[in-house]
Symmetry: C2
DNA sequence: ATGAAAGCGCTAACAG
DNA sequence: CTGTTAGCGCTTTCAT
């Protein structure tokens, strides 16, 4: 036996189809056919076995780059996330990744920092990298960029966002229903003067939650005070805090807040505290998303739970369908939220 | 003027180097040289201009796949993350991404779910995808896999983890120093009986924090009670809670806890509460990482802040150096933590 | 059922 | 300084 030389070990790295073909004593073309599930039937079963064995012995792994060059597919999907540090997105990413993996696709994630320009750059870069399709959580409702994409025929699905005209497939939660649950809870607790401190209405999440709030109030025979329906510029703690300050300083009466999301609700906690107001003693607060650790805030947060992981999986599923079966109409997948009651809400204390 | 046909619009998608060359009236080879920063000097400035203009007009974007096939580089790096839902990792990812972007590399992120098998699979899949190098946060200290990698000559850097023998480049925080800060704070507050409820010692973070604790105690003339130095199986809330229960039920006296990380500290909050113990009234708790929102927990958490974003950037930097300048010794980059004092620690109330 | 040959889009010798 | 040529590793006609 000859000793295995270092050279042998290194060579193992670059096992190519030719190597496999040579060892199996066939032409590279044949080896290619044997190795590929789809075309294996075109080749003698015995020969195929020999090729498979050779590939195994050599530790052959096809080079997807070379394959992609020929087939014009990269088995790669671009995932555009507005802010990976918002704890709402990691579960979505995990869902996407899990589903994509199953199908042999690799997600390529980019963080757009909520910046339209960066969004465009990332998008183009990914196109250049030949991604087969996109999943994006960054859609602004006016979506100039989305038009470009769709117009150009690249499969794309929205996750946790949607566009008004429903021309694009999406996987989202029913935001209107979610906020109505919040309003119902508060109304059941006896609250009548409820503020809504929401996110930007250019985002579907911002718009639909606001609409859900107004509809929910009306259903309960409550009149939303226009001065207490505010729209923040971003879904951040700071914006929530700012809006809450404004609401308090406006002098309008309110005993409860529905916040645009958990981050904004946290901002309300801070603003309330700064004004010496107790939560839920003086003001009840409801968040949105049930982000990780919201049960450990002070007080534990009452919020609406969204099945983020499932939303991610579903979005990937939708995209996979587009990829393998071509355009298909634009499915709007809507998952149901749940109310999680914790310590930031209390019955109105009629004085 | 002829109307722009749909066909024109679609063709734009597949602008190739040949198209640019044709429009500029040069050979594709020349066009390639003109387009590439590195080789532009080899071509007449005027010609180069013409090529650039043509590329611009056509909206040309080089196909990195084709380029990679030729150059054996994908300008892609694999990023292995053990648990993207742990809020400690997103900032690291952002740091990596930002630095890599600058250099024209794309990170490909995989979530290994802390599973050695999945780690191996992801790793191989990425190798097959021709990533140029790896950044990994998943290194177990025994690192069989890492040997495989290093042996095979793929550049790799560790982030937020390191191996004992320092054979691999890494960007980490000084965990020993960090924990000593925690011990010093507690000692300054008069605590003498301090428990350490840490993470798995197969991870460098687990091991070094434990060592830092013991060293820190000794420096202050305190004797760590072996029964109160515990090692959890994972860095999770549940493990922190379990360990804390055990510590309480052991009957040993302690008035303070240094936890393996913020998640474990949160678990301590829960366990303490379940036993009717107040934090910090009865027991002070110090976390580790200063993860997002730790200032909003109940009580706000005293913890050690780690510059995660910078750690990510530095790791990317290290890898880039390896990639562009070849092996370089194994640099161990160690960043400094900071103590953040909040509400979960209090002076010992001598009764 | 298999071999031969062309070519995906690009870069890198090598000429000239 | 620029054109020519070859080829990265793979798939896919087209022959045989």
């Amino acid at each position: 036996m000859l000793p295995v030389t270092a050279r042998n070990a290194k060579e193992q790295l670059r096992v190519t189809l030719r190597d496999v073909a040579r060892l199996a004593g066939v032409h590279p073309g044949t080896a290619s056919r044997a190795l590929n599930e789809q075309t294996r039937s075109l080749v003698n079963a015995e020969t195929a076995q020999r090729v498979l064995a050779a590939a195994d012995e050599l530790g052959y792994h096809p080079n997807p780059i070379a394959r992609g060059l020929k087939t014009n597919r990269s088995y790669t999907v671009g995932v555009l996330i507005p802010d990976i540090e918002n704890p709402l997105f990691p579960p979505i990413i995990r869902g996407i990744e899990d589903r994509l993996d199953q199908a042999g696709y690799t997600p390529v994630i980019a963080n757009t920092e909520n910046d339209a320009e960066r969004e465009r750059i990332d998008f183009r870069a990914m196109r250049a990298r030949q991604v087969d399709g996109f999943i994006t959580a960054t859609a602004r409702l006016d979506h100039e960029l989305l038009d470009e994409v769709a117009g150009v025929g690249v499969p794309l699905v929205l996750v946790n966002r949607r566009v008004e005209d429903e021309s694009l497939p999406s996987a989202t939660a029913d935001d209107r229903a979610g906020v109505r649950m919040a309003v119902d809870l508060l109304a059941d607790l006896g609250h009548e003067h409820i503020a809504f401190l929401g996110g930007p209405t250019e985002l579907s999440t911002g718009l639909q939650r606001k609409e859900g709030f107004i509809a929910g109030m009306q259903d309960r025979g409550l009149k939303p005070d226009p001065a207490l329906v505010a729209t923040g510029e971003r879904f951040t703690l700071d914006e929530g805090q700012r809006l809450c300050h404004e609401a308090i300083e406006s002098g309008r009466q309110f005993t409860a807040i529905v916040a645009g999301n958990d981050l904004m609700a946290l901002g309300c906690y801070d603003a309330l505290a700064e004004h010496g107001l107790a939560c839920p003693g003086d003001v009840s607060v409801v968040g949105y998303n049930d982000m990780p650790f919201s049960d450990h805030f002070n007080p534990p947060m009452t919020t609406i739970r969204i099945p983020h992981y499932e939303i991610g999986r579903s979005a990937a599923d939708l995209l996979l369908r587009l990829l393998e079966q071509g355009p298909d109409g634009s499915t709007q997948l809507v998952l149901e939220p749940t109310l999680v009651v914790r310590g930031s809400t209390a019955a109105l204390d009629k004085k």
